[in-house]
């Protein structure tokens, strides 16, 4: 693997994973869903993890979010080890690392209004002397929504696109350093998808945010990211700048994957 990509002594490195491994089950039947994955993310960088279903990309996302226990390996946020954080420390971690998920319907508690959803997340900010209400409004405006119109709405009163934008606002409210977007646009229509991707794209410049974008769609990876990581059977098989990985892939698997992607135009 690309050893040179993983030097955590770079000042700009926000997040570094080293040898991350997750096994499900015990002994002989154990499945290595994520197998020795190492990479580093710089400030303001958008990295896409691509892979087919079962490649372990979503498991990786849930490990980074600390929603799944890590079997082995370490991760560091701004140079601090966060692999085994608990309690208050974990809450502080979640203030800096947030997520948007795939399904804009099941991500909402249907009994909560938008205001209550955001307020609940806002509890992570209770030690950080901020005006929650203005944070909430600012975050909604950042994703192009009018706070007065949506704050008292319930999820069933919002469209899929609106819901997904509110989910992004919820994450942004914490002013995180790292945003994990796990197939965050997969269930949206093409026309809306572009809008959401642009929101992520602009945040990188405006808010110094790093984004780990997880998708099976190489087209989206190509549009959005600075760097692309390719996963196969839990392993990272290719890691490099988008232009290199997508237009000049080195690994067999990446080449095959790209050859199968349907195109709109014949490539010259």
């Amino acid at each position: 693997m690309n050893e040179n990509m993983n030097k955590p002594n770079d000042d700009d490195i926000v997040f570094a994973a080293s040898g991350l491994t997750k096994t499900f089950g015990r002994s002989e039947k154990a499945i290595r869903a994520v197998d020795d994955v190492s990479f580093a993310m710089r400030r303001g960088e958008i990295i896409t993890v691509v892979g087919e279903s079962g490649s372990g990309k979503s498991t990786l996302a849930r490990m980074i979010l600390r929603l799944l226990p890590i079997t082995s390996g370490t991760m560091a946020l701004n140079g601090t080890d966060v692999t085994r954080l608990r309690g208050r420390g974990l809450q502080e971690y979640w203030r800096q690392v947030q997520a948007v998920f795939q399904d804009p319907f099941s991500a909402f508690n249907q009994f909560f209004s938008v205001r209550r959803l955001l307020h609940r997340s806002g509890k992570l900010l209770r030690h950080a002397d901020v005006d929650l209400d203005s944070r909430m409004r600012a975050a909604l405006e950042q994703v192009g929504m009018h706070p007065a119109e949506v704050l008292d709405k319930y999820p069933h009163e919002l469209s899929g696109g609106q819901r997904q934008r509110i989910m992004i606002a919820r994450a942004l409210m914490m002013e995180p350093k790292l945003l994990i977007a796990d197939e965050a646009t997969s269930m949206l229509d093409a026309s809306l998808r572009a809008t959401i991707l642009n929101v992520l794209f602009d945040l990188r410049a405006d808010a110094d945010l790093s984004v780990l974008f997880i998708t099976h769609d190489i087209g989206q990876a190509c549009y959005l990211s600075d760097r692309v990581l390719v996963m196969q059977h839990g392993k990272l098989v290719e890691n490099g700048p988008t232009e290199d990985v997508i237009f000049n892939p080195k690994h067999d698997y990446t080449q095959r994957l790209l050859a199968d992607v349907p195109r709109l135009h014949d490539v010259g």
Binding site: R62, L65, L67, Q91, W94, Q98, A99, F101, Q102, D103, S106, A107, F108, N109, Q110, F111, F112, L117, R120, S121, K123, L124, M167, R170
Partner: protein
């Protein structure tokens, strides 16, 4: 919830349950003058103007006993239903949401409870108690009838657990109790209501079974106790049908009412189980067609002008 979602089955069930509940709660207040100690005649007097449903083996008025018996049965049903549902939901939700070793332990306990025949446990506990009030009988029934609720609720909770909003809640720093109360339970509320209704009817039938064996409440009466005494004093051989037919009918109505309520609630909460009536459908299409034709005519004339 809109009223149109309720089916006629639901209203029939609700009607039966209300009828029984009125009889058991308001009955003793309306028909005063007799109580459980009043002796109005001799052994198995036939129904008459004085005793509408005749008398029992000790000369008590069967109608009065029926009212008080229904009331005891309902009290046992509600108390026991509440307790059993509460235990079952807590055990099931915690097991389903937390998972891992906690789930395995709780479910092992539940399965052991399920494996022991309920009636045996009921009989043993009841025998061990010196005096049994209506409440203590209800509690005894509750502690033996929660396990299947726990199993069913655990399955529901596990399916809710896969929803992404629980991950969002965890990422928001919410603790386990808050997640169970606000994110898991509301999604199972309709299910819990159905479980509760079913638990009531199970408890009423269990009480009847215990009482029939002579292990019911040691004070007052109940539908099961009435049957117990009717059996013990050979009402069948004496052709004293009024001693055993009324409590049997009442018991059947209570159990049937709650069971029907439970299954019709299932239809309300789960509209896929409902059947569309053919007549309504054709009517809708006919009206839609007319509307379509009218619209078409309007466009044609509009573009022509």
């Amino acid at each position: 919830m809109k009223l149109s979602r309720f089916t006629s089955r639901f209203y029939v069930a609700l009607g039966i349950v209300f009828l029984v509940a009125f009889f058991g709660t308001l009955g003793p207040l309306l028909f005063t003058g007799k109580d459980l100690t009043t002796v109005v005649g001799g052994l198995y007097d036939a129904p008459s103007g004085k005793a509408w449903l005749g008398t029992d083996n000790l000369g008590h008025d069967v109608f009065t006993y029926l009212m008080y018996g229904t009331r005891s049965s309902l009290i046992v049903g509600v108390i026991s239903g509440l307790i059993a549902t509460f235990i079952g939901v807590v055990v099931g939700t915690v097991a389903g949401y937390v998972g891992g070793a906690v789930e395995e332990t709780l479910m092992a306990a539940t399965n052991i409870m399920l494996a022991i025949p309920q009636i045996v446990v009921l009989v043993l506990i009841s025998v061990a108690l010196d005096s049994r009030s209506v409440t203590s009988v209800a509690i005894v029934i509750a502690v033996t009838s929660w396990p299947w609720t726990a199993r069913a609720v655990r399955a529901q909770a596990s399916s809710v657990r896969t929803r992404e909003h629980l991950d969002i809640a965890r990422l928001s720093g919410a603790n386990t109790v808050s997640i169970i109360v606000f994110d898991v339970l509301p999604y199972m509320l309709s299910y819990v209501v159905m479980v509760f209704v079913l638990q009531i009817s199970i408890a009423i039938l269990s009480e009847a079974a215990l009482s029939l064996l002579g292990l019911g409440p040691s004070e007052g009466t109940s539908l099961g106790l009435m049957l117990h005494w009717a059996l013990a004093w050979e009402s069948v051989r004496n052709s004293a049908w009024w001693a055993f037919v009324p409590p049997t009918i009442m018991l059947t109505m209570v159990a049937f009412g709650f069971l029907l309520l439970q299954s019709s609630l299932d239809e309300v909460f789960n509209p896929r189980l409902r059947r569309d009536s053919g007549r309504k459908r054709r009517k809708r299409i006919a009206s839609a067609r007319t509307a379509a034709e009218a619209a078409e005519a309007a466009t044609t004339s509009g573009s022509g002008a």
